[in-house]
Structure formats: structure tokens, C-alpha cells
């Protein structure tokens, strides 16, 4: 019987909000292949977090795995896959999932298809599969053929909803891999906490500025509006590259992907690499001098004109409210 393994990461016992997303396509795949589905996580701390999922599987334990250590994680997973003869391994394609899977694939010398959105065909010629995967951070898709004995995939984040826990406590067996102490060389040695508060990723409203803002000082008016609305300031890559804003404010393919209730894009044209970062926003308001700017035509609402003048008027209007 085909055995499918899903790697689910936990960070010292805590699951990220998206941690279980890869299980959803994995359940469908197990159904269509009539295969068994099990999960693996690293560190005893993950046991309590993952038992409620209701799947059987493995908690991988070893002294070197006392904290996140991508090389050691990859080796451990590769050993589990070989010993238990899993033929399909799936993980979420978040930072850690992508990294651990790449290590495992390199150790076992197998291909790894990154950021899959659909497993289109599992009955291709010579046992090959056809999958759809993300390119350009989501601006483009690729139909890819996977020719290999073992099928390793990461699932594009925010593509599938996480499944509801099925209630039953799955028996998770402890698996102890052989890992040389030397692999502790890539383990986390320290953590630094930064001030908590609203972040770009979690704010309900993001007031974002691009080249049209014109200077670092000119962002003050965006800050003022963001403060009034209980949100944060974001920006385009032009603002980052000009040194107007820190990169942690950048929205887009190589910045942060956000999904606020409202995204206010001021003086941003809407290049595809910016758009993929903000397209999940519930509502978008574009403020731009150019009525033909792509962000204006893709937005839900737009105001045409100079952003400085418009933001000043909006702030005055808010302050004048009873």
C-alpha cells in the first residue's frame, strides 16, 4: 500500500496558524490513491499539538533536534522516509517547510516540486505525476511533470484551508534517527524578541506608499492616517530601494504578503510583484494621479489625484467628525 507522509512543523510545541494547511490536499490525495496517510513532526513538544489532528504517525526525537536545525531535520526526515518506505512526502511551503524538504530531497537525491496548488494527475506515463505550481510568487502558474520514484511536494501557503481536527487522538510513535552531533552547526543558537504590537502581516488596515510619495519625510502623513485608523504603514519596493522605508514595510513578492480588511495604496502603480503581496486584501482603495494605473483598475475603490492633497483632506475630515 502506498504510504503518504505529511511533515508538520511545530515551533517548540506551537503550531503556526497555517501549519495544518498541507493536510487538506494530502487527505484528497490519500483518497484518490487509496493510500495511507501519516504525519511526522520533530520534537516531543509537538506531540500534544498534533495528537488532536487524529492521524497516526511519528514524533522524531533526538538531542540534536532540541531546537530548529534544518540540516538535522532534513537528515531525520530522510531516514524516516527510507526506513518506513514512504513514497510521497508533503509539507507546507512556508520558510521551514520549504527548507526542510529541500534538505531531505537533497539527501535522498530526489526532485522536489515547490509550491504546488493542485495535483492534477497521478497516472502519467511511467509513474510520473502532473502538478500545478506557483511561479513569480503567484503571478503565474506552471504545469510541471514529476518523474521520480519518490514524490516530494511542498504546498503553496494560503491555498487550502486547514482541515478541522477529527477528534480522535492519533497514536504518534517516537522515531529516533541517527544524527551526528556535528549537524548542530545549523541549529538556532539564540532568539531575539522584538517589541510586540501591530505588524504588517496582522494589521486590519495598511496605508501603503510608493514612488508617488516622493520622500521619506512625506511618509509622515501616511503614518498619521495609519495611526488614526489603528493600522500600520506599508510600502512598495521603490520606497524601500530609495531608503525611504525599512524593508520590513515592503509589500509584495519579495516583501510581505498581507490580507488586511482595507489596503490603501498611495502612489503605487501596481506591478505584478507588488500586486501578489496585496491581492488578498478584503478591500483595496487606490490613490493615484493616473486613472489608468494597474492598481487603480484592479482596486475596489479609487481616488484620482495628488496623494498629499487627498490624504490631508481625509485626515482633516476624520478629525472634524463629531
Amino acid at each position: 500500500m502506498t504510504r503518504i507522509l505529511v511533515f508538520v512543523d511545530n515551533d517548540r510545541g506551537t503550531l503556526s496558524p497555517s501549519a495544518l494547511e498541507a493536510l487538506t490536499p494530502a487527505y484528497s490525495l490519500a483518497d484518490s490513491l487509496d493510500a495511507s496517510l501519516e504525519l511526522a513532526t520533530v520534537g516531543e513538544g509537538g506531540r500534544a499539538a498534533l495528537e488532536p489532528v487524529g492521524l497516526g504517525g511519528y514524533v522524531i526525537s533526538h538531542p540534536v533536534l532540541s531546537d530548529y536545525a534544518p540540516e538535522a531535520y532534513g537528515d531525520a526526515l530522510a531516514q524516516l522516509v527510507s526506513e518506513e518506505q514512504f513514497s510521497v512526502v508533503i509539507s507546507l511551503g512556508d520558510d521551514r517547510g520549504a527548507e526542510v524538504m529541500a534538505h531531505m530531497a537533497a539527501v535522498l537525491d530526489q526532485p522536489l516540486v515547490a509550491n504546488v496548488t493542485e495535483i492534477a494527475d497521478t497516472e502519467g506515463p511511467d509513474g510520473s505525476w502532473e502538478v500545478i505550481r506557483v511561479r513569480w510568487g503567484g503571478s503565474l502558474l506552471e504545469r510541471a511533470r514529476l518523474r521520480s520514484d519518490l514524490k516530494f511536494l511542498t504546498i503553496a501557503p494560503h491555498t487550502f484551508p486547514a482541515p478541522e481536527p477529527n477528534g480522535g487522538a492519533g497514536p504518534l510513535t517516537t522515531f529516533v534517527p541517527e544524527i551526528p552531533d556535528s549537524l548542530a552547526r545549523t541549529r538556532v543558537v539564540e532568539r531575539v524578541k522584538l517589541a510586540e504590537g501591530l505588524t504588517l502581516a496582522t494589521a486590519p488596515v495598511v496605508v501603503s506608499g510608493g514612488r508617488g510619495v516622493g520622500s521619506a519625510e512625506n511618509f509622515a502623513i501616511l503614518e498619521e492616517l495609519a495611526d488614526l485608523l489603528g493600522g500600520v504603514v506599508g510600502c512598495s519596493r521603490v520606497a524601500t530601494n530609495n531608503g525611504w522605508r525599512p524593508h520590513s514595510d515592503q509589500v509584495g513578492q519579495t516583501g510581505t504578503r498581507i490580507a488586511p480588511d482595507l489596503y490603501i495604496a498611495c502612489g503605487i502603480s501596481g506591478a505584478v510583484q507588488h500586486w501578489v503581496g496585496c491581492m488578498a486584501s478584503k478591500q483595496i482603495l487606490a490613490i493615484n494621479t493616473d486613472p489608468e494605473a494597474p492598481l487603480v483598475t484592479k482596486a475596489d475603490y479609487a481616488v484620482i489625484g495628488d496623494l498629499h492633497e487627498i490624504l490631508a483632506a481625509v485626515i482633516a475630515e476624520i478629525k472634524a467628525r463629531p
Binding site: E142, T254, L262, A286, V303, I304
Partner: protein, 253 residues
Amino acid sequence: MNILVCVKRVPAPGARIVLTDDSQGIDTRHLGFTTSPHEECAVEAAVQLKERHGGTTTVLTLGPPDAVEQLRYSVSVGADRVVLVPADSTEWDPQATASALVEAIKDLEGDSPFDLILFGNESADSGGYQVGIRVARALGRPVISGLKGIEIDGDQMVGRRETDEGFEVYRLPMPAIAAAKEGITLPRYPTLPGRLKSRRAEIHEVPAEMTPGGQEMVSLLKPAEEVTETVILGHGAEAAPGVVRLLEEVGLL
């Protein structure tokens, strides 16, 4: 500190991506080319480390002859030496790419390994998130991805990686490998002397054989696009009341 940075030439689409008629690629007739911002920042990080600790910065790309444009650009922002690994076949998946890079790197290194090899976290177009890790595994060197900070402390590379709460710190014995994210540092713009130097820069060619991998592109397709009817709230300052009404409706006021 001798540092190698691997970069990939990619088209730079603007407001929309247009595919070729056969859906095998992006229609690049009207596009410029670039590298991923992650890789641009990796080049800058390497140049800054060299400026601080001495040594050389080498930039390498595997690609078509036109990729010399990206190599020359890297000279204009401070790279000392540039290497082209010529490639013309289309059968390059991440495994194949990594295998050819490993060959080329061994050839360049001889008996003296680079202290540090930097990659982008993922390429701009294909985004496989794996070439740097595969190369590191083949060379038996430690590797960490997603770095937003990098420093040298004696014979160790100290890397910082962002998390939801702050950042994690890693210490890798060198020779080491790392994949950088945009924001690790701010790339500089080319200077005029830099540009002049880049025009004269010698391009070292290092041929390398690849071992085919198991992933193959069949075709490209565009994601379904929602068509939005944009509501124009007004022009200039007169639109302010409309904007405030929207803010109220969304529940922000």
C-alpha cells in the same frame, strides 16, 4: 574573505505578464532583464563583507550568453570577478542546475574553498527554494536559508532570520553557505566609475556538465483573474467625505 554569489537572469515584467503563443515562456520582446531582489541584496552583502574584512567577491551565473548583462551589473556595484557557466539547453530543473553549479564551483575553488557562498532564498521566476541547499549538501557544507542579517565573527558566519516575534540567530562554521532574502542589506546604485569598470570587466567562462533531474516544465498558465469594477470615489480633496464613508463602512472609524 573570499565570497561567491550565485545569481540568475530573469525577465522583469511590470504591470502584467504576457506568455508566448506556445505557453512555454514569458514574452520578453518588450521586457528588460534583472535578477531577484534577494540575489541583488546577496551581492551587496558580499561586497560589504569584503569591504569590511578584505578579500574578493565573485559573482557567477549559469545561463545564456545574454546573462553577461547581469554579471556586468554586479561589477558596477562592486563585484571583483564574474563567471559565466554557459547553458543553452532547456532541460534545467533545480537538481540539474545545482549539479552544474557544483561542478563549476569545484572548478573555481581548486584547493581553496570560498569562505562563503551566497544564494538568493528563491529565484524570481521559477522559485524552487532549493538550489542553494542542494549545492551545500553536495559540497558537504553547512547552509541556512532566509537570512535577513549576516556578519562574520572570527571563523564563523553569524546569520539572522526573521520570525513572527523577532529573529533567530545561527552561527555556522566557515566555509559556509547561506541563502539571503531582500532586506539583508540595502543594495547600492552603480556609480559612473563602476559602470566604466563593468564595461571592461573580463568574463570568465567555466563550462559545466549537468546531471538531469526529475522535474520538467510542461507549460505556463495564467491564474484566473478577478475582474473588478472600480468605484471612483472622486477627484482630489473633494473625495475626502467619500473616503471617510468607506472607512466607516469597513469599520475602521
